[in-house]
């Protein structure tokens, strides 16, 4: 439906509160370490048997929870970078971003990556640079393919795109289809 206009995902380090995309993205997990004991929550730790989750426990927490518990002063959790944002993978991205399957590695590679910048890692400048360069490196092919694939199966073209790139691809397809309709006199 043309008239359905959902709240879009936020850009950069801000989420849009009412965006379904941002809510799903922020459910993705990242490796954390508890810097304090959490009493009375022991039932959440499958490996533990006590009433508390002890300090030092390593857990994968959803981004929304990691953000809420991360505080420079109180330090309830510390956060580790997921693999694909670390130096090793950043080298791969910087070498040739087009070879990477961002759906498998993501699927919210860009927006999740931007959210990681909230955690004050010393690698933030490099992460931000890689995110930007990766996007720039891949954008041209996404634009070209979305503008040239008319009335055909595009599943092969989108299978390796992250969610942001898929939205861009579909925007390009929509424009192409609307133009074709207009050319054929079907837009009235």
């Amino acid at each position: 439906s043309e008239a359905y206009m959902p709240v879009s995902a936020g850009l950069g380090s801000e989420e849009n509160f009412l965006s379904l995309e941002d809510i799903i993205m922020s459910h993705e997990k990242l490796p954390c370490r508890l810097e304090m004991t959490l009493p009375r929550l022991g039932f959440l730790d499958k490996s533990g048997e006590s009433d508390s989750i002890p300090e030092g426990t390593k857990m994968e927490l959803p981004l929304w929870l990691a953000k809420g518990l991360y505080d420079k002063k109180r330090k309830i959790v510390s956060v580790e970078l997921p693999k694909i944002y670390k130096e090793g993978w950043r080298t791969v991205f910087n070498a040739d971003a087009n070879v990477v399957d961002l759906h498998r590695l993501g699927p919210y590679y860009y927006s999740f990556g931007c959210q990681l910048l909230n955690f004050d890692s010393p690698e933030n400048p490099e992460i931000a640079q890689t995110l930007l360069q990766t996007f720039v490196g891949r954008f041209r092919r996404i634009m070209d393919s979305s503008q040239n694939a008319y009335n055909e199966d595009t599943s092969g073209l989108v299978s390796r795109l992250d969610e942001l790139e898929r939205i861009l691809f579909h925007a390009g397809q929509k424009g192409l289809n609307e133009f074709q309709r207009w050319e054929k006199g079907q837009a009235s």
Binding site: S1, A3, V7, R40, G68, S188
Partner: protein
């Protein structure tokens, strides 16, 4: 883990990415509200204990539960709000009388909202185009 029912509500809507309206998940919303009530009551107990018995070690747990409360709240209001956006779109797609199959997918409160939306739109359209008003929901594509 907390907030699992809440994310299920969001995923259910997100799966209908084309703007179609699934049935209102009354049970799902109720379960999330119940989880919020339980989290809040647990936190009330712990806050009291932290203040009266000096149990400052409970603060991280209280913070944890508060994050879950905020998350549940965000999921519920986003679920409800996105459904309103879909229902609003129905007015523009189908006109002011919706097919019964679609009405069936809406809750009673959503129908009330829809009827009020229709009234607001009608009032607005009457205010346009001089005495006759202007139906802006018609002729959305240009003539041949």
């Amino acid at each position: 883990m907390f907030c699992e029912k809440a994310i299920e509500l969001i995923r259910e809507l997100h799966r209908s990415g084309d703007g179609s309206l699934p049935a209102f998940n009354e049970d799902g919303v109720r379960q999330v509200l119940e989880e919020m009530k339980a989290l809040y009551e647990q936190n009330q107990t712990d806050v009291h204990e932290a203040k009266s018995d000096g149990r400052s070690d409970l603060i991280p747990t209280i913070t944890f539960r508060h994050c879950c409360l905020l998350r549940n709240r965000r999921c519920i209001v986003s679920y409800l709000y996105d459904r309103l956006l879909r229902i609003r779109a129905l007015r523009w797609e189908y006109g002011s009388v919706l097919p019964s199959a679609l009405r069936f997918q809406m809750s009673a409160d959503e129908m009330v909202w829809f009827n009020q939306y229709k009234k607001s739109l009608a009032t607005y359209m009457r205010s346009l185009g001089g005495d006759e008003g202007l139906d802006v929901t018609q002729d959305l594509t240009p003539p041949k």
